[in-house]
């Protein structure tokens, strides 16, 4: 086991809304999250749970959503706190943090790459903007960056254009670019979702290997519980804009706590075992985005909902002995 790290990024009470013609939609609602140094935090949740919006807010690309409340605290290399939520999204201060301190990779590599310049030129440009090396040294660093992500012919790849690479190779190039400025945090938003399983597995191994070699912290966003089991040290489960459970990865998969997490795990069609009969399913669907449930966000679909409590009172965090924390009235806390 790795020793517990120090907190490098802390999110408190984060609330993000989108102002639509029909009214405001709360995508992230009083969210709490912390990322420890040198660890991989997996964030799982289904579409619409706010995981992508939340992760984008960490580098202030949440627009057209707006941060209405809460804080995103980043502890920089000197140990000083930076209040990211207060920075101008187009300002100098946040641009100094993006890439160099906190880098992000996406499901679609073309979000990061333009089609008209070679891979090498684009990585080099990113480094130039952050004043990292110059001339021949930078060229060598670009090739080294491509080599470090397992490109078989890094010098040639540097001269190729994104469209010339396969999906997996493009994803590797994107990781090379994201890591080229030596970030302390990597945010990965479903980077393997569009890939075939064997390529996915290679990319996950690569991310893990780079993370360990560089001592980076990673926030890994995914809808796939299997992927999160593969890569994460800790897991946060999101539902409807909130984190409902947070546990060390082994604890989560061996002894999940929140009824939503349990339901997700039970509804999986698994490659490693036969499931006789029907899969267990969650009843109902997501509520109308304009009508957020009162109390616990999950109470309408929860098989263990306690009437008069869960539909009224927002559950507080309960910490348990096995290292997990859960926001659920079933586990006591102030209201049990």
């Amino acid at each position: 086991m790795r020793p517990e790290g120090n907190t490098i990024l802390e999110v408190q009470d984060l609330t993000i809304r989108f102002h639509m013609r029909q009214g405001p939609v709360t995508a992230v609602d009083g969210l709490e999250l912390s990322l420890e140094e040198g660890r991989v935090l997996g964030v799982v949740g289904e579409s619409g749970c706010g995981k992508s919006v939340m992760s984008r807010a960490l580098i202030r690309i949440e627009a057209p959503g707006t941060i209405e409340k809460g804080s995103v605290r980043y502890i920089d290399r000197d140990g000083c706190e930076v209040a990211i939520e207060k920075l101008d999204p187009a300002g100098r201060a946040i641009r100094r943090i993006r890439w160099k301190e906190i880098a992000m990779i996406f499901q679609e590599p073309m979000t990061s790459f333009g089609p008209q310049h070679s891979i090498g030129a684009q990585i080099s440009e990113a480094m130039e903007l952050h004043g990292i090396l110059r001339g021949r040294d930078r060229q060598q660093a670009v090739v080294a960056a491509l080599e470090s992500v397992g490109m078989p012919r890094p010098t040639e790849t540097a001269e190729q254009y994104p469209y010339q690479l396969s999906g997996g190779m493009r994803q590797r190039a994107m990781i090379a670019m994201a890591l080229s400025c030596g970030p302390r945090i990597l945010i990965a938003d479903e980077p393997t979702t569009a890939l075939d399983v064997s390529t996915e597995s290679q990319i996950l191994d690569l991310l893990r290997e780079r993370q360990m070699a560089l001592g980076m912290s990673v926030l890994y966003i995914s809808h796939n519980l299997g992927v999160v089991a593969h890569i994460a040290d800790d897991v946060a489960v999101m539902y409807l804009g909130r984190v409902v459970e947070r546990s060390p990865v082994r604890v989560l998969f061996a002894a999940a706590k929140h009824p939503y997490t349990l339901a997700l795990l039970r509804s999986l069609a698994r490659v490693d075992r036969d499931i006789p009969g029907r899969l267990e399913v969650l009843s109902g669907g997501l509520p109308d985005p304009f009508l957020r449930p009162a109390g616990c966000v999950f109470h309408q679909r929860c098989p263990e909902c306690i009437r008069g409590l869960c539909d009224r009172v927002v559950p507080r965090w309960v910490r348990l002995d096995d290292g997990s924390a859960v926001a659920c009235h079933l586990y006591g806390g102030d209201h049990a």
Partner: protein, 353 residues
């Protein structure tokens, strides 16, 4: 147990495409998207077709529903009424009455439903396309199939945008059911859905199968979903079937190195059973351009000289299990301890051998 009279019997099905490119868009050669594929599906069963993108599984499905023409091969469809016809030999007029027997469910519930059509028109369309039917009868049938898939008939006059992904997929299933088909080709029917919605749709597909004795050709890349739903599974690589087996044999005792690698790479919700490290290489899984040899040769960890020269034929190695490999390999199955724990994460590069 092979059915003496399977509902669908595909023999030697092949489809190639001209490979074009360059400034004048000249034909540079052919790629064999589906390369002499044979399999059969007994009535009431689910046959899984798995493989990576570009393996030819979608083309196979489209050949069977006859939206594209095969180069060669037979597709024999057999039920009480039609009693065994080769779909390939039929003209487009002759095939029309059979269209209602074979329907398709698509992957993307967002792009497969016309946004300008109401649910009534979407679900009713196959009824109109396959025979003359009154407006009243269409309406009644649409209400009936909507009920079967768990949707209220009140939804009939709404447009697709008003529905969630899971509901849209139910609409797609209702459309497929409208003409009382006996065979449904489902191409990645649950891949775009969230886990909890996916489970609902999988249960629905099972229920409908029991109720109407439906036969499914279930095309998917997700081996977990295939394990849950299918009775028999074929693994496709580069246009060819490399292994066909009943579910327990395929998952418990895979015989082809590619099947083994797919199972090993599949992410599983067990932090202490990490997927075996996949050899990293540029590995085109699309149709392979060269003629001789095993298509999987460049990626195969067990390859020998013969593999580059001779293409292995599909041969039966155990009861109901066929494999296209020169060797009788004893491979690690998906649940074996060859799958590494987290602690030796960095040193498991050669765990397969």
């Amino acid at each position: 147990m092979p059915d003496p009279q399977p509902l669908l019997e595909v023999t030697d099905l092949a489809k190639s495409y001209a490979l074009r490119g360059g400034f004048f868009d000249r034909t540079k050669g052919n790629v064999q998207a589906v390369d002499h594929v044979s399999f059969s599906i007994p009535r009431g069963q689910t046959f899984g077709l798995v493989g990576e993108s570009g393996s030819g599984k979608t083309t196979t499905g489209r050949l069977i529903v006859r939206v594209i023409e095969p180069d060669t091969g037979q597709i024999v469809f057999r039920d009480e009424e039609s009693g065994g016809v080769d779909l390939v030999k039929l003209s487009s007029r002759q095939i029309r009455p059979l269209r209602k027997k074979i329907q398709m469910i698509f992957q993307d519930p967002y792009s497969s439903l016309d946004p300008r059509m109401t649910v009534l028109r979407i679900v009713g369309e196959p009824l109109r396309a396959t025979g003359s039917i009154s407006r009243r009868a269409t309406r009644d049938r649409v209400a009936e199939v909507l009920e079967m898939v768990g949707l209220s008939e009140e939804y009939m006059n709404r447009y697709p945008h008003a529905f969630s992904g899971g509901q849209r997929q139910r609409i797609g299933i209702a459309r497929a059911l409208a003409t009382q088909p006996s065979l449904i080709v489902a191409d990645e029917a649950v891949s775009a859905l969230d886990v909890s919605v996916q489970a609902q749709i999988l249960n629905l597909l099972r229920d409908l199968q029991e109720r109407f004795r439906l036969t499914y050709l279930f095309i998917a890349h997700d081996l977990g979903v295939v394990r849950y739903l299918c009775d028999r599974v074929a693994v496709m690589y580069s246009g060819r079937l490399v292994e066909i087996a009943d579910k327990p044999a395929l998952y418990g005792n895979p015989k082809h190195p590619y099947t083994e690698s797919l199972l090993a790479a599949a992410p599983r919700p067990e932090p202490d059973k990490l997927p075996i490290k996949q050899p990293s290489m540029e590995s085109p899984s699309g149709p392979h351009p060269f003629g001789g040899g095993c298509a999987y040769f460049p990626r195969c960890p067990y390859r020998r000289d013969v593999c580059s020269r001779e293409a292995p034929q599909l041969r039966e190695v155990a009861g109901g299990q066929s494999v296209a490999c020169h060797f009788d390999l004893t491979l690690a199955n998906a649940n074996s301890p060859a799958i590494c724990g987290r602690e030796n994460l960095q040193s498991n590069g050669s765990a397969v051998h």
